[in-house]
Amino acid sequence: MFASIAGQLRRHSLVVSIVAVLSFILAALAILVPITSHNVEGQAAGTVTVTATNNAKITISISDATAAYGVNVAPDGTGTGGEITSVTSTTGTEGAYYIWTPSITPLVRVKSNKTWNGTIAAAENSGSSSSMTISSGALRYSTSVPGTYSAASSELAFTTAAADWQTNHAKGNSTYTFYYLLRVDWTDDPGTFSSTVTYSVSQ
C-alpha cells in the first residue's frame, strides 16, 4: 500500500515537474513573442497618421435583390413565370424584351451626408446561352416601362466595366427605380441568362 502511495507520489512529482517546465517555457514565449513583434514593427521608421471622418455616413439600400425571369423566356414573347411584369415583342426578326419591375420601389436608395459618386456594372452572362451577353446589350435598364421593342432597345445597356451613374451627386436622400429589360431574340442561342448588377457608391 505504502509502495503504491510512494509510486503515486513519484508520478505526481513527475507530473508537477513537467507542468512546471511547460509553464516556464510558455512564460518565456509569452515574454519573447511581444518583443519579437515589437522589433518587426520597429523596423518601420516612417509614420502613418489616419484621420477618419467619423461623422461622414453613407448607406445603400436595395429593395429587391433578385430579378427573376423564370425558366420560360422565349423569343416569341410567350415566356411567363418569374417576376416578369410585361413583355414587348415584335413580329419581325427581332424577339422580345422581358421587363422586370422591382417588387418594392424605389429599387435603390442612397443616403449620404457628403457629395457622393456612383457606378453601375453588370457581370457578364454566366448562364448557358452564349449569345445573350452583356457586351451585346442583352440587358438594359430604364426608369419607366417601355411600351415597344423599339423603345426598349433604345434604353441604356448595362456594361461589364463600371459606368458612371452619379458624379458629384449632392448629399441627401436619393431614390431610384430601375426596370431591367432582358432581350431574347430569334438569333439567340437557347439557354439561361445569369448576371449580377452592382450599384457601387462612395464619397
Binding site: 439600400s61 425571369y69 422586370w100 459618386n117 458629384n168 432582358l182 452592382t198
Partner: protein
Amino acid sequence: MILLPKVVTRARAFFRAAVGPRKRLSFLLAVALLSVAVQGGTLLHANQVDLSVSPSLVEVSATSNGEATQDITVYNDGSDALGIEVSVTQYKRASGDYSAVEWLAVEPSRFELLPSTNSTVTVTIKTPVGLKSGGRYAMVVFRAAGPTAAGSAVGVAGELGVPFLITVDGEGPLVSQVKMGGIFPLLDTSGRIGAVAVGTNLGNIHLFCSGHVGVTDSSGTAVGDLEFTENTALLPGMTSMLFTGEDLPLTEGSSYLLKGFVDHHNTSHNASMEELNASFVVKPALRWDKLEMSIVSNRLLVTTDVFNPSDMAIFAQLRFAVADADGNILAASEAMPQTLILPGTSLNTSYPVAWQIPRGSYTGIAIAAYGGGLEVRQTVPFDVKAGMIPTVNAGWGTVPVREKAGIPAGWWIGGGIAAAVIAAGGLTIWFMSRHKGGTPPAPASQTPAAQE
C-alpha cells in the same frame, strides 16, 4: 473559472432560455455549419440589402516605410442576413503611381452579418520605402449581393466604398494647385439658370472644391447667391465641374454678372480661394454644324457636331430619326442622356444605330432639345445602297421598316428594279450634262437649322 466577456455570457443566457436542452446540440451544429459555410463556402444572399459604413471616408498622412491600422464598422440596417465580401480596389481613376491598392490589407474579408448587427474590419496601411511626395488612393469596398434564382435571373448587389486618401510626405514637395478653367452660367433643362465652374488639379495631392457664386444684374443689383455643391476628392491630374445646387429664373435678353468664389482644400492643406467672374446675356442658342448618316460595317452611324454659340453652358438632349421619301418617320430614338456643352464649344459624337433599313433614299433627322422647351433641328438626306441586317442588336432599336410599312416583298423587288432604272437614267443625264459643259448637281448638304 474562465471569465467571459459580458456579450458572451448574455448570449449564453439567451441561448439557454431560447433553446431547450434537447435542441441545443442541433442548434450548435447548425451554427457550426453556418460558420463553415461563411468562412470557406458561399456567402448568404439577401432578398434586400441595407448597408452602411462608418467611417465612410478616411484621410491618411504618411511617410515612407510606415504602418498604421484603421477600423471600419459595417452595419446591416435591414431585416435579412447579409453575406459581406470586403476587397481593396482602385479609387476613381487612380492607377499606377497614384494607386495605393497594394498598400492596404483588410481582415476579415468575408463574413456574415445578421440583421440589425454590425461588424468591424481592420484595414492595415503599410507604406513602402523611398516614396515621392504626393497622393495615393485606394478604396475598401463592402459588397452584399442578392440571391440567384432558377432559370434566367439577375442578382442585384450593393457596394459601399470607403476611400482611403493618402498624402505621402516623401521626396520632393507637396503641391496643392488647382487651375480653374472658368465659371459659366448654366442653362438647365427647366430653363432656369445656375452656374458651373471647371477646375483641373495640377498639383500632386487630392483636393476638395467648394464655394458660392453671386449673381447681379446690369445695374449691379444682387439677384441671388448660389452655393456650389462640394465635389468628391479631385485627384491629381483630373478635371472636375462644380455645379450649383440651385438656379434662378433670369430674364431672357438681359445681361448679368457672375462672381464666383471657389476654394480648394484637404485636411493636410489650408484652403486657397480663387475669384472667378463672367458676364453674360441670357440668349440661349445651339447650332448644328454637322450631321452625317453613313453606313459603316453594315450599320448606320450618326455623326453630329452641335455648337454652343451662346454665353451659357447648356444641357442638351439629342434624338434622331429616319424618314422615308414621303416624310413618314420610320424609326426614332429615345432621347439620349443629357450632355453639357460649354460656351464656344461643340458636342462631337458618333452613335452607331442598329436600325434595320432596306436600300433606298431617306432623310436623317436630328433634334437637340434644351432649356425647357427649346430645340434645334437638322436634316440630311442619305442613301442606303444595301439593306442593313445587323448581326447583333447593340445600340439602338431595330425597326422592321418593311413590315411596318406593310409593303409586300414583291414590291421591293419591283422598286429595286425601278430605282436601278432611275439611277441609270440619272447617270446618263449627268454624263450628258458634263459633255455639254454643265456641272453635276451639288452633293447632298445639310439644310440650315430649322429652328434655333
